[in-house]
Amino acid sequence: MPNSAQSPPQDGSAAADADLAALLAGKRDVAPWLQPMADVLAALTTEPSPGELAGEARALAEFRRRTRVPVPRHRARRGTAGLTPRLGVKAAAGAAAAAVVLGGAATAAFANVLPAPIQRLAHEVIGAPDAPSAPQPGPVRGTTAAPGQLASHGKPKASAKPHSTNQPPNRHGHGQPGGGQGQQGSQHAKGQGGDSSGQGQPGSGQGQPGGGEGQQGYGQGEGNPHAKGRYGNPHPQGQRGNPHPQGQQGNSHPRAKPAAHHAPAAHHVRPARHRPAMDA
C-alpha cells in the first residue's frame, strides 16, 4: 500500500478538531490527512483473534464457581444421587441390627439360657441344646442346711420363675444354675450330703404352685427336688419343712417327672388360697 501520509494542519483550527472528534467517534470517512490515523484506529478495532478469546474457559469457570446457587444443587443432589446411598445406609444399619439380634439369640440358645419354650424352639430350628424336659433332682440327701437358712432362702416369688434358678442369690445363692444345677446338686448331695447349693431350691418349689401350674411346672421340677431332698416341705415362713420321705428317694432321681414331683410338693407347700383349686 502506498504511503498516503500527509502533514496535518498546523493551525489547530476548529475544523481540524472536529475531524479528530469524528475520527475518535468512529467515522472513517475523514479528511485525507487523517486517513492514515483512521487506518490505525480501524486496526485497533478489528475482529478479535483466537488468542484474544483463549481465556474464555477460565473466565467461565470462575463465573460458574462464583455464581452457582448452593440450595438448588443441594436439592438436586438429595433428589437423585443422594437417595440411593441413604437407602443403602439404612439397609445396612437394619441388616447389622438384625445380625446382632439373631447372633445374640443364637448365642443364648447354645448357651442354654433361653426360656424353655424358646430353647426348645431353638433346639428344633438350629440344633441348640434342648431345654431340660424334666426337673433335675436336687441334692435330696444334702438337705443339711439349717432351717433358718431355708426360711431365709425360701422365696416363693423368686422360685416361681423357672429362670430364677439361674440366679444364685435367690436359691442357689451359692452358685448353681438352672436345670444343670439340679444334677449337680444331686451329685453334691450324694457326695457331700449337705450342699449349700440346694438351700434355695425348696423355696422355689414352694413358689411354683402359686403361679401357673402348667407353664411353671418346669420350674417346679427344678425346685421341688431340692426342697424335698433337703427339707421335705420347707415352709416359706420359716417353718421347718416336713422332709418328704419320698422326695429323698424319688426326687433325687434325675428322671423324675416334674408333674409327678410337683403335684405333691406343691400340694404340701401351696398356700391356703390355692388349695381348693388344686384339690379340685
Binding site: 472528534a21 475518535l24 490515523m37 477460565r58 463465573f63
Partner: protein, 184 residues
C-alpha cells in the same frame, strides 16, 4: 459493542446464565487485552484474568448501561495494572496512578514493529509510542468505546484535558505515520 441487547444480557448473566456472560466476555475481552498491551505489556493476560475475577465477584451488584459496564471493566483493569506496576517497582512510597503507570515497561521501536506488521499488533505498537496519557485516552475512546466524560472519570482528569490529550495523540499519530511511512 452490544448496544440494545446489553441490558438483557447483563440481567441474564447476573442470574447465572453462562451464555450471557460468555457473550459479554467475548465482546469486552479483546478490547481489554489491547488496552492492557499498551499500559501493561507482557502482563495483559494475567491482568485481564484478574480483572474478570473481580468483575464476576461484583457482577450481581452492578447497575448501569453498557457505557458504565465498560467503564467499570476498564477501571478495574487499570487499577490491577497499577497494582502490578507498584508491585514490580517495589516502592510502596511511590505515588499511584500516573507515576506508577510511568514505570510500566514500554515497547521499544514501536514504529519499526508497525512497519513490519500491518495488523492490530502493529497499530497497538504504534499507539504505544505515544505519551502515556495520550495513548490511554485514544485506546479508551476508540478500543473501549468510552465517551469523553467516562474517560475523564476513569483517568481522574477533566473532560477538557481528555479532549486535548486525544487530539494531541491523534496529531502525534499522524506525524508518526508521516515520518515512518506507516500504512496499515
Amino acid at each position: 459493542m452490544i448496544n440494545e441487547d446489553f441490558a438483557s444480557l447483563l440481567t441474564a448473566a447476573q442470574s447465572g446464565s453462562e451464555a450471557a456472560f460468555s457473550r459479554l466476555w467475548r465482546d469486552a475481552n479483546p478490547a481489554l487485552l489491547r488496552y492492557l498491551r499498551v499500559i501493561a505489556p507482557g502482563a495483559e493476560e494475567d491482568i485481564a484474568a484478574e480483572t474478570w475475577v473481580q468483575v464476576v465477584r461484583g457482577l450481581r451488584s452492578f447497575r448501569g448501561d453498557e457505557q458504565a459496564w465498560r467503564a467499570w471493566l476498564f477501571t478495574t483493569a487499570r487499577r490491577r495494572a497499577i497494582d502490578l506496576a507498584r508491585h514490580r517497582a517495589r516502592r510502596p512510597e511511590a505515588p499511584l496512578d500516573d507515576a506508577a503507570m510511568a514505570q510500566l515497561p514500554r515497547t521499544e521501536d514501536s514504529a519499526e514493529v508497525a512497519l513490519e506488521h500491518l495488523s492490530t499488533a502493529a497499530a497497538i505498537a504504534l499507539v504505544s509510542g505515544l505519551p502515556r496519557l495520550q495513548a490511554e485516552v485514544i485506546l479508551l475512546r476508540v478500543v473501549a468505546g468510552l465517551d469523553t466524560e467516562s474517560v475523564a472519570r476513569l483517568l481522574r482528569k477533566s473532560p477538557g484535558a481528555v479532549r486535548v490529550a486525544a487530539h494531541r495523540g491523534l496529531r502525534r499519530l499522524a506525524q508518526l505515520t508521516a515520518d515512518t511511512g506507516v500504512t496499515l
